[in-house]
Symmetry: C2
């Protein structure tokens, strides 16, 4: 195991009706920027409820709506301008991971003199941030309890994470009811995203820190159990609640403690989203089984076999066979059970940018579970074509 710092100071208020905790925002002042996406939080009544609670708590609201999936730096800049204009004291994101990420980036950018893109490119410049609050409406990114905000500049074709302890939300509301209306495709993509976060931490050569590995398996099994239930029965509270809590725990540090390695599928997927603006979880689902197949070797076979036995309850005694079956099960879960797109061609991506994308992400693949080069990344992208 590696020495580690575990720091997850966000107060999570989880369960039906927990939005009442929004009154606690008054601890941070009286002027909030409310960040959200389209009209779904209005249709669901979350917007009205939030405005009512905040107003009763004496908080004045400035609004920034229209945050995109894969949030753009242009939206972040608009939010920062509003913060300055209205002397905003805290930022509240209500939505999925994109909205919360935008809220975080705005909170950091509002305390920085230069352009916020500097902070995306150099995290060490993040030296202060407004207090951040979140109401989660989708189980996927875990942004409600972590330090990252993934921001895109589609002009530059860059999608990149900015990270700082200062960007960890102070309080997040996780009400599973708010995810009842998440469409089938987004529920499936979110489930793949959660699993991918757990995978990125789980597939590590460090094998002497039991608890983190077991916690990771618990998160993955939870997705396998409840993802299909949420697809069949969108209003199933148990399924939505379990997925929501799995989402938070996949990436709040608890599955990573002592096992830190560089990530693999996320850097490769960020290129797909940056070049083609596809849904992050869809890109991850397409990449993951191909990445698993590509990195399966004499050294990693034991880990994949462990995964097969502990997550998929495989009982074979021959490691290589169990490992291969576990990878097949993973692919089948994504493509047959969750019905996610199976290939890059299915989402309209050909090989035209493989070299450029691999060039971009290769530096971040060097310290992964199995270190990968640009050529490796190109090959994995190729393997995703069919």
């Amino acid at each position: 195991m590696n020495p580690f710092v575990y720091y997850a100071p966000t107060k999570i208020c989880f369960g039906k009706g927990q939005i009442s905790h929004l009154s606690e925002l008054k601890e941070s002042g009286s002027r909030a920027l409310l960040v959200y996406g389209g009209g779904s939080i209005k249709r669901q009544g979350i917007y009205d409820e939030a405005v009512r609670i905040l107003t009763e708590a004496g908080i004045t609201i400035t609004e920034l709506s229209g945050i995109e999936p894969n949030p753009r730096v242009e939206s972040v800049r608009r939010g920062i301008a509003l913060c300055r204009e209205h002397r905003i004291e805290m930022v509240l994101g209500i939505g999925g991971g994109s909205v919360i990420d935008a809220a975080k980036a705005i909170a950091g950018g509002a305390c920085y003199d230069g352009d916020v893109w500097d902070l995306v490119m150099d995290h060490s410049l993040i030296r202060a941030a407004l207090p951040i609050y979140a109401v989660v409406t989708m189980a996927a990114t875990g942004s409600e309890m972590n330090k990252n905000a993934v921001i895109s500049d589609l002009g530059l074709r860059v999608k990149k994470s900015m990270g700082s302890d200062l960007l960890k939300p102070r309080l997040s509301i996780c009400d599973p009811v708010y995810t009842f209306s998440v469409p089938e495709k987004q529920t499936a993509a979110g489930t793949a995203d959660i699993m991918s976060h757990a995978f990125e931490n789980y597939f590590s050569m460090i094998d002497d820190f039991d608890l983190s590995a077991r916690f990771g398996e618990a998160v993955i099994r939870c997705c396998i159990r409840y993802g299909p239930v949420a697809l069949r029965e969108p209003d199933n509270y148990e399924a939505r609640a379990n997925l929501m809590w799995a989402s938070t725990n996949a990436i709040n540090g608890i599955t990573k403690a002592g096992m830190e390695v560089g990530w693999s599928c996320h850097p490769m997927e960020h290129e797909l989203s940056a070049f083609y603006d596809i849904t992050h979880g869809v890109g991850l689902a397409i990449l993951t089984p191909r990445w698993m197949e590509y990195v399966l070797n004499d050294k990693t076979v034991r880990k994949f076999a462990d995964y097969g036995r502990k997550v998929w309850d495989l009982t074979g005694t021959e490691d290589l066979a169990v490992a291969k079956e576990a990878i097949d099960k993973t692919a089948s879960f994504f493509f047959d059970t969750l019905k996610l797109p199976r290939t890059l061609r299915d989402v309209g991506i050909g090989e035209e940018n493989f070299e450029a994308m691999a060039e971009h992400c290769a530096p971040r693949l060097a310290d992964a579970f199995v270190p990968l080069t640009k050529e490796d990344a190109v090959q994995i992208y190729r393997n995703c074509l069919s």
Copy 2:
């Protein structure tokens, strides 16, 4: 599942050499009260190292040594007096759970005008506390990342927990090397304490919140795997590290989220310690299998069978048989593998105070997994005699 608030803001610095993070205490000021027990932290060199780092960080140290196992309110009062005399700005406990609990109670008491025992009896009076820091030297209580401080007034024969979010440490150093010298008996008792924390959360009638149950099983399995290793090889870093992280996670909220029930064995054990000053983990080990046997019934059998299958890998198909075997396995683990005392008589306790102890703890057993009366508690104590 129940709605819940999960809030674990402590920064954990885990692993060999992490004591260097003590320099971060300067964020809370320049005058610290250093709380510890006997001479073991001096023999191990932890004391010298801590003093060196704090001094280099410009922090002036006032000392309170001699904290007892089952820390006494009298020691806490001495600490509070020192805080006032030296205008202390933060409290640092270096030791096991007793020392950290004393540090917490001092930190709370120093910000309260009346006597600290008021805070033990009424948590709502805790409205402020000095910042609390900890260096952990034993894997057991998990005090480094929770809100509780268990304090005893042996004159009153009361051992009781005071709890507040304000008592959660700001930063805790968990270096497994510091536990190499923990004696066999304390290592065994600590392992039983960790398991008991996980049990208290795990045995709940709430069965629809997968992740918390799986996290609990992971903690318990970790103890079963590594407790015996630490007994055989006290210097085994892997075993000590896994136990230490299991200890923190057993009681930081992660195994309880959504599953909250009143606890059972802890209230009963606190009476044993209050009346007889025995080691907490020893009392828990004696009580736990008898409590399990006592509450096994038609309603609870499924949960115990689940425990048997998921924790002990039992494969039987008949729930009652699996449940009984799991309870036997638990007893055998405590008494045969960890070699903890098997009966109350083994630790010098007869039936003379059963009525009084049961009378004391009964109110806290009313909302447990299986609600218990005073008469139930007496019977469980009786079952522990042989």
